[in-house]
């Protein structure tokens, strides 16, 4: 009997063969089984379902985003360790730790995981955790959509990791240029895994972009005009605009490539008139705004951190806003600098190069504003501030090499070399990662009611900073020595010492992450000693005015705002406790299983497309449409908490 219609092209031959991938393919399901066993033993399934899987509370969703991101960070750094172990040993007469095919899958998944699941994951974690609290509201504009976004993100994450078990991942790099990723050169399921994990996660991101834009526009507390919002909220607003405009271009690029692969079309194929350069333009028209999407919230975080820990008003609020908006506009007109060497001609190259350089101006202005917030402040170097210092040094170096490469004639010599790799890690680690790690330390007490251990936090920052320098400064040198990116072997022995130092750097970064994992575990264990009240940092913005952990309704009474840093000045003027008559009925959204189910169905839909299981494609597609229709027909998605109960809960929390 021919079972192919049932299973598509799924086949036992797609199981991994190499020890390391086989280990992962066995280890991951085993870990999941162990977790499931623990949940059963401790009878926590009900709790998990009620409190986390079906939640629409932005804070809970944020914590889930953050947890997934941190686990993916560990996988991503492990990928990095594999890469650098290979290059340390891959010189002349050296050995292959694993096959070139595996190596190419590893650096592809490293990039995909770090950008889409670590950086975007942490970013959405922060949006969810901080934005509603900072603008004085209870939840986002569309809580159900928020849950859907998370579970789509989760589905994308399963796809990337699932590829380890069956089929292998793409070997085309994190952006998957055709024609390498077309059927002619990559007939297997790897590229399809790549397409759908990005596509599904990307839709989740797009929906979140809309969600948070509407939230910031419509949910601000009374009196909070745009120019009274915290700068972090401004950075999120600007980021959501970028998300909404850029992500559809990613959707289009991936969709067209999948049409080529699934239906034999000719958008980017070599034959039939396809044009790979079109793909490169489309995907970078998304790709460049993407990196500003990642870094601008980090800038926003530092605006909050520097002001708070210098105990001083942020220098130049208006200019910070102008700079953010300026960066937002310019990030749309620079994408061609990712392919100066594709032969566009001098005029085009020069235009985009100059536009790219211009972005350095508002970015530099922000750095000066932070510096002069420190000036005449009273700075305490808690770990968020330590992260800022690391950022200021590291990101600036990355910015310098960025402006260097913005000059087309310089880029001609460093494009696609390890110099480029060093640059983008420089700005992503120095800017995005350090910013988000600072934010986690900063807002952790608000979510959990206790602080993270400071000593381990500072140790982590030290290891990350030193690790970054050891891992990436040698890469700048290697690039200038002629070393291109994505190599697993090379014949010049003078490169080896540099690769060895770089490998040591990855170990240092790993030590930093170990400190952070230890920090979380230790802090949970010692949470009574590390207990934090509502305002552990003597903060300036509204989120510090509610108890820690924040109650599920955020604010018992919606605050009224009359200035920037409202909470800081309220503390100085004398905090007024709410009158009994201030408490009103609260309407909250109900939990729902639809978010989770839609996410898992999207995962099944993608799997069906990857493995050519056509009946499942149809079934899952219809299921998703049906669930959306069912949800829109549901008129009872909210519940009310009477004012008296709100008052009771609030008074207990403040006691």
């Amino acid at each position: 009997m021919d079972w192919h219609w049932l299973f598509g092209r799924l086949d036992w031959s797609y199981l991994p063969h190499e020890p390391i991938t086989l280990g992962a393919a066995i280890g991951m399901p085993l870990t999941l089984v162990a977790i499931a066993a623990a949940l059963t033993y401790f009878k926590k399934w009900g709790y998990l379902w009620r409190e986390w899987i079906t939640t629409v509370d932005a804070k809970r969703i944020g914590i889930m985003y953050g947890s997934v991101a941190i686990i993916m960070l560990i996988r991503g750094v492990f990928d990095a360790l594999m890469i650098r172990s290979q290059t340390a040993l891959g010189g002349p007469g050296g050995s292959q730790l694993f096959s070139t095919d595996t190596y190419q899958q590893v650096f592809t998944s490293h990039g995909v995981i770090m950008i889409f699941f670590v950086a975007m994951g942490l970013m959405f974690a922060l949006f969810n955790i901080a934005v509603p609290l900072m603008i004085g509201t209870r939840d986002v504009a569309f809580p159900f959509l928020n849950a859907v976004s998370f579970w789509l993100f989760f589905a994308g994450m399963i796809l990337v990791n699932g590829s380890l078990i069956f089929g292998g991942f793409s070997i085309g790099g994190w952006l998957g240029y055709p024609p390498l990723t077309e059927l002619q050169y990559s007939p297997g399921p790897g590229v399809d895994y790549w397409i759908w994990s990005l596509q599904i996660a990307g839709i989740g991101s797009l929906l979140s972009g809309i969600n948070f834009f509407v939230t910031i526009l419509k949910h601000r507390a009374p009196g909070m005009t745009f120019m009274r919002m915290p700068i972090f909220v401004w950075s999120v607003l600007v980021t959501t605009v970028l998300i909404m405009i850029a992500f559809p271009m990613l959707t289009a690029s991936l969709a067209l490539l999948s049409l080529d692969r699934l239906m034999g079309m000719h958008f980017f194929t070599s034959m039939g008139g396809g044009n790979p350069m079109m793909y490169i333009n489309l995907i970078w028209a998304w790709g460049h705004p993407e990196v500003y999407i990642l870094v601008m919230p980090a800038f926003g975080v530092f605006s909050e951190v520097v002001a708070t820990f210098s105990r001083k008003k942020l220098f130049g609020y208006k200019t910070m806003v102008i700079a953010l908006v300026g960066i937002m506009f310019f990030s749309f007109v620079v994408w061609q600098h990712h392919f100066f060497t594709m032969g566009s001609g001098a005029d085009v190259n020069a235009f985009f190069g100059i536009m790219t350089m211009i972005i350095a101006i508002p970015t530099g202005v922000k750095l000066f504003n932070w510096l002069f917030t420190m000036y005449r402040g009273r700075i305490s170097f808690a770990s968020p501030m330590v992260w800022f210092m690391c950022f200021a040094v590291t990101f600036t170096i990355g910015g310098v090499t960025g402006v260097l490469m913005a000059v087309p004639a310089i880029d001609f010599q460093v494009h696609n070399t390890l110099f480029l790799v060093a640059h983008f890690h420089n700005v992503i680690i120095g800017g995005v990662v350090f910013g988000y790690l600072a934010a986690i330390t900063y807002w952790f007490p608000k979510m959990f009611g206790f602080r993270l251990h400071e000593g381990l936090g500072k140790a982590a920052a030290y290891f990350w900073q030193v690790g970054f320098l050891l891992a990436f400064m040698p890469l700048y040198a290697l690039g200038l020595m002629g070393a291109v990116r994505r190599l697993d072997s090379y014949s010049d022995p003078s490169w080896t010492p540099f690769f060895i130092v770089s490998a040591v750097g990855v170990v240092f970064v790993g030590a930093g992450i170990a400190c952070q994992v230890l920090q979380i575990a230790y802090s949970v264990w010692k949470r009574k000693t590390l207990r934090a009240g509502g305002d552990p940092w003597d903060g300036r913005t509204l989120e510090w005015s509610v108890p820690s952990p924040a109650p599920f309704y955020n604010y018992a009474v919606i605050p009224k705002v009359s200035r920037v840093d409202e909470w800081w000045y309220q503390k100085q003027d004398g905090i007024k406790a709410p009158k009994d008559s201030d408490y009103k009925d609260i309407v909250m959204p109900k939990n729902t299983a639809f978010g989770f189910v839609i996410g898992m169905t999207a995962f099944a839909f993608s799997g069906a497309l990857i493995w050519h299981i056509w009946w499942l494609v149809i079934v899952t597609f219809i299921a998703v449409v049906a669930m959306i229709i069912m949800r829109t027909m549901d008129d009872f998605t909210e519940y009310t908490i009477p004012a008296a109960e709100v008052m009771k809960m609030d008074k207990e929390a403040r006691a």
Partner: protein
């Protein structure tokens, strides 16, 4: 001394890293920084200029960062001014908008000028007639055709010194890129497209060349060597290669186009239209039925540049 523990740790770490850095780069050859041709030399000067001009801003920023962090730390607050509401200063803002704008103006102008003067398509200023080399990126080897000299080679690129080399570059492989760091500028090699590059070697030697764009399993090993020779040596190489028993024709091209690695090999060139045939293989699809007939080899391939 306990309160200065952090500062001491940072200072020691910085010192150790600087020493490590020095030990690493000492005696190492940097193709990009020790260029062997006019194009790479200009690109290096440009790098140094741009880097130096940026240091005018970066170094003061680093100094201020350390100074402010130290001076305004919480433990020091008895000795310095604490002004929690101070958040504006028109003159300072004018400076840190104005100076970067000036620097970007200078760099931008430089970028414009050099984007044109170092345009890979631009012929080099030289009294010597250029040597034409056609390049085809294959899975996972480089084919070099010397159409005016009747020779071809794989992974081996001999060129005469002080002679501008005019490359026309295409591919029959996933997108690749042709790069000789010691000589300068890299450019993409794409199916159905013809890119151009102009380089020159100003002294003899062996200069490694690479593919900078991943194109499959053999990507890392897709290396070649430029052998810059004196005019006499180059002429004798051409002469001896024309006597080679290896023939480069369509059949051989077919054979070497199969995925796999190859050692350096030289050929007598039997078919002068091989390069055009490679380009046409993929360019057909971009044509309508009207110009599919009788087309192509008359086309000015140099117009098939990017978008």
């Amino acid at each position: 001394m306990k309160k200065y523990r952090a500062v001491v740790l940072v200072a020691c770490t910085v010192f150790a890293l600087v020493v490590l850095g020095y030990l690493l780069v000492r005696g190492v050859h940097f193709d990009v920084l020790q260029p062997a041709g006019a194009v790479a030399k200009s690109e290096k000067s440009l790098m140094i200029f741009a880097f130096s001009i940026m240091m005018l801003v970066v170094i003061p920023v680093f100094i201020m960062l350390v100074m402010f962090a130290w001076k305004y730390r919480a433990g020091n607050d008895k000795k310095v001014d604490y002004r929690p509401e101070w958040s504006e200063h028109k003159l300072l803002e004018a400076a840190w908008w104005g100076i970067p704008v000036l620097i970007i103006l200078i760099l931008g102008t430089t970028a414009w000028i050099t984007a044109h003067s170092l345009d890979p398509y631009r012929k080099l200023d030289s009294k010597v007639a250029p040597l034409n080399v056609q390049v085809v990126a294959l899975e996972w080897k480089w084919l070099f055709i010397y159409p005016d000299l009747g020779v071809a080679s794989v992974n081996e690129l001999p060129v005469p010194v002080d002679t501008p080399i005019h490359f026309t570059i295409s591919a029959d492989a996933p997108m690749s890129a042709f790069w000789v760091p010691a000589l300068g500028t890299q450019i993409y090699a794409m199916n159905g497209m013809s890119s151009q590059l102009n380089l020159i070697a100003d002294h003899s030697g062996t200069f490694p060349g690479y593919n900078t764009n991943i194109n499959g399993e053999g990507y890392a090993k897709m290396k070649f060597n430029v052998y810059a020779k004196s005019k006499a040596e180059f002429t004798s190489w051409v002469a001896s290669t024309r006597k080679s028993p290896n023939m480069m024709d369509e059949a051989t091209l077919q054979k070497i186009s199969q995925p796999g690695l190859m050692d350096e090999t030289v050929y007598m060139l039997m078919d002068n239209n091989l390069y055009d045939k490679v380009v046409m293989k993929y360019m057909k699809g971009t044509m309508s039925d009207k110009d599919a007939t009788g087309a192509s080899t008359q086309h000015d391939m140099s117009n098939m540049e990017g978008m």
